[in-house]
Amino acid sequence: MTKIVFATFAVLICGAGYVTYYGIGAESMDVVSSVRAGSIGNARSFGVK
């Protein structure tokens, strides 16, 4: 039982390390990312200076 728990916790730590290093799921929720080139849907256009 101890080995199983330790192994599980080790997997959790390693998993946390992986998602932390690559920032998976940590992008700001309110940032809209484009998935198609040149289109952002109904977002405002600000122009390029």
């Binding site: 101890t2 916790f9 932390t20 920032g23 992008e27 940032v31 600000f46 390029v48």
Partner: protein, 419 residues
Amino acid sequence: MSDKLHALNCKTCAAPLQRQGGHQVRTLTCGYCGTVMDVRDEFKVLAQYEGLERPTSPFRLGMQGEIKGVMFTVIGIIGAGYEDRWGRYDWVSAQLFSPTHGYAWLTWNQGHFVFARRVRELPKPSKFTGGRPKRTKIRFRDQKFRFYEGYQSELTFVEGELTWQAALHERTKVAEFIAPPLGFEFEASEDELAYGLSEYMERDEIRAAFGIAEPLPAPVAIHPLQPFKPGALQTALSKAGYIFTIIAGCCLVITFVLGSGWRIQKVDQTLAPGSTLSVPFSVSRADQLVDINIETALDNSWTYIEGTVSDSSDQTVAVIGREIGYYHGVEGGESWSEGSRGTTASIRVPAPGDYRLDLEVDPESPVTTPGRIIIEEGVMPLRYFFVLLVFFALMAASLPIRRRHFEKQRWSEVLDDDD
């Protein structure tokens, strides 16, 4: 009568009785008619207790079982109890006999078993006040025992062979001290002060030892001598929790130190309503987050900033819209603050290369404020290790919390007593 006599008939009802208890037996009580006979005086009738109701217990005269490697026989059974303002408490004790190890007791109390033997060694201190010495501790055989409770028990049932001249309704003052799974008792009757060492026994162990086939009632509450025995899973979770709390803590610190990323652009610009700003930056790796930090000097005001991140082909990568507001003051002599002077947006770019951040301050923003835009790459979030740190800490704490709750239940019966 000789001690070698093993079978005889009751002097009153002629029921067949057994003598199994060795030479220290004083009385033999017939389980059929309640006649108490003096074993050392030709079985002279000393008393008769008619209509005694046998208390419910798993014990029967003649049962044999091995406890701690010693074979014992149940030679006598007594019922006892006491009453206080919280209720009535009854238990049944079996007098045990072993030809090689002498006499002992096995008590059945609300679903729990306790094995006890008289001891001749004196505890320290050895004085028995007969009162209720709260917070008193004694030491016996290098073990500390803490006072649990004192009471006066009354004998309510007798059957079989006993090592003293037991009389129905006789009273004994008892002081119990505990060091689970062990207990130490002072027992004071009119003419005797005795000491006993008890030990909590597991139900399955006693059932197997004595071949008790009938189902036993479930234990009621926590017995004073019942040891705290966590399951294997709980022990493993707590043990691993301690170690991984430290590991998660270290990972959190390392991430904090190394995970703030490195600066790839910094621009200072006044942010006036309606103004725009274009900030170029280069990202060397696309597999980690990029943080866009916008800092202002707002004071009791707000502004709204929108931004677009585009790649070198003017393809929009991300769109950001943030309101920044900071308010503070003093009210009732206490200062307060609300909001923040800056904001951070974490984005992910599709590929390494050159990008541009175009910002526009909302024309309806009421103030102009100095601004600083800092862009960092290689940023690592702290949240995951923080969540794990909290989770592992809870796992580590689960066993001590459960143990504390168990001990609270153990002492709940006596802690409210202010006598």
